[in-house]
């Protein structure tokens, strides 16, 4: 037991690597904070484009979404960061990671929003239109809010997936949480930094998932 603790939860190691880990956490959080809103936005845009119901547009969207979703996120990052420069397209690691996450998540968020939009009864649109509100505004202020509320749970769980996927940044040597933990581990010769990193992921993401659960409970009452 003592040996286990010495290896996996060594207090001295923990204290010495904590500042490094926190700096890594900061990078992770900023990646998520930039990539998440952008992914949500592009996902919503895709879902709204589906709602246009143009056959060509729909076909193009399906191909793009399937393509983005079937490429493993790591492969996508490798292509964007290491292959695109050969085409003269170079970007800093932060941008490459954000772009990868957005491309990868647009399909997922798009599908979730699409289900959300479909879950709002047609009557709601008609009621808005009958009041003389323009179609785009009906969509934006009447349909979309209800759609989001109806799919809050899958949106939140996909947001958590995105937050965790920021760890791919370690592959392009960005000093985010996983990367700094790996570096620290190599220095101290025990896995404590990795365990500490896992704990930090948990500490940051857990309240978020609790919050979502509470929000769900509150809005579940406001049904049709």
């Amino acid at each position: 037991m003592q040996a286990f603790l010495n290896n996996f939860a060594n207090v001295d190691t923990f204290v010495s690597v904590l500042p490094l880990l926190l700096s890594g956490l900061l990078v992770t959080v900023s990646l998520a904070l930039v990539a998440l809103p952008l992914s949500l936005l592009s996902g919503l845009l895709v879902a709204l484009l589906f709602a246009v119901k143009n056959r060509v547009l729909t076909a193009v969207l399906f191909v793009l979404i399937d393509l983005c979703r079937s490429i493993p996120v790591l492969v996508l990052l490798m292509i964007i960061f290491y292959a695109l420069p050969f085409l003269g397209l170079m970007m800093p690691p932060f941008v490459a990671v954000v772009l990868t996450l957005v491309i990868n998540n647009t399909g997922y968020f798009g599908e979730i929003f699409r289900a959300g939009l479909a879950s709002v009864p047609k009557h709601q649109q008609e009621a808005g239109l009958a009041l003389g509100i323009s179609r785009p505004r009906v969509l934006l202020f009447i349909v979309v809010p209800q759609a989001i509320r109806n799919v809050a749970a899958p949106l939140a769980s996909n947001a958590l997936e995105l937050a965790k996927a920021t760890s791919i940044a370690s592959l392009v040597t960005m000093p985010e949480l996983l990367r700094v933990a790996q570096v620290a581990q190599a220095n101290v010769y025990n896995p404590t930094p990795l365990v500490a990193a896992a704990a930090l992921y948990f500490i940051v993401l857990w309240p978020f998932s609790r919050l979502v659960a509470r929000y769900e409970l509150k809005t579940i009452k406001a049904r049709y």
């Binding site: 009557h123 709601q124 008609e126 009621a127 808005g128 239109l129 009958a130 009041l131 003389g132 509100i133 323009s134 179609r135 505004r137 202020f141 009447i142 809010p145 209800q146 509320r149 009452k221 406001a222 049904r223 049709y224």
Partner: protein
């Protein structure tokens, strides 16, 4: 039209209107004129085209031939014109269709807000006045799901009125309600009619028709078959189809 009416301003004019759902001829040669302040009750068997007809009046449905003019606006495929007309024509649905994500007060305010009401403070005051009028002001902060059906329908009426429409359309406003809530909604509608609102109501509530309607329009199989004053229509229907229809709703 009532005798002694000083000036008759047509609010709605329908001429030779035909509507198809692909091959199905849903409305056939509809002619109807509604003057300002008139209260029309539209009735007829299920599938006769009542909903389709009133939905054509605010552009929720399009039609293939004929003309429909609503508060001076010709209903065309121009979304601009249709929107202008809709802002002056309130509609109340069988299933209320309140916006569940908005409070009662915001259900009333959203349309004025999104259609560019200039003075929101004044609009807010007007909304509260309307809620007062439909006797539900104490629920202004609640959400639709917290209200009974009758209360929701009264909010839906107030929501439509908040756009200050010149005409109100009702599509079976009480048929989704429990019997004990029907009266509270009809009372609001009667009050509205007495106040001079031009209205077309699809309803089988005979009491309502007798109290307030200037005329009853009876439809069958996509056609207007009979038009008469309510007492005449209910006691002495002229066509055989109307007689059969009245027989079924009375028994």
């Amino acid at each position: 039209m009532p005798a002694g009416a000083v000036e008759e301003i047509p609010m709605i004019t329908i001429e030779k209107m035909n509507k198809f759902y692909s091959d199905f001829h849903a409305l056939k040669d509809i002619d109807l004129a509604v003057e300002e302040g008139q209260r029309i009750v539209l009735c007829g068997p299920s599938g006769s085209g009542k909903s389709t007809l009133i939905r054509c009046l605010n552009g929720l449905e399009t039609f293939e031939s004929g003309t429909v003019t609503v508060v001076g606006i010709k209903m065309t495929r121009s979304s601009q014109a249709v929107r202008k007309a809709r802002q002056q024509v309130g509609m109340v649905f069988q299933s209320f269709n309140l916006f569940p994500h908005l409070s009662v007060l915001n259900n009333l305010l959203i349309a004025p807000r999104l259609t560019g009401a200039r003075n929101m403070a004044e609009t807010r005051e007007y909304a509260m006045h309307l809620l007062e009028r439909v006797r539900i002001a104490d629920q202004a902060g609640k959400y639709p799901s917290e209200l009974s059906g009758g209360q929701q329908q009264r909010v839906a009426i107030a929501r439509a009125l908040c756009m200050r429409p010149k005409v109100m359309l009702f599509d079976e406003p009480t048929s989704a309600l429990d019997p004990e809530m029907i009266k509270e909604v009809l009372d609001v509608m009667i009050d509205l009619g007495r106040d001079g609102m031009t209205m077309i109501a699809v309803t089988h509530e005979m009491g309502f028709a007798k109290t307030i309607a200037d005329k009853v329009v009876f439809m069958d199989a996509g056609r207007i078959v009979e038009t008469a004053a309510p007492d005449v229509f209910f006691s002495n229907p002229q066509t055989e189809r109307a007689q059969r229809f009245l027989h079924t709703i009375l028994h």
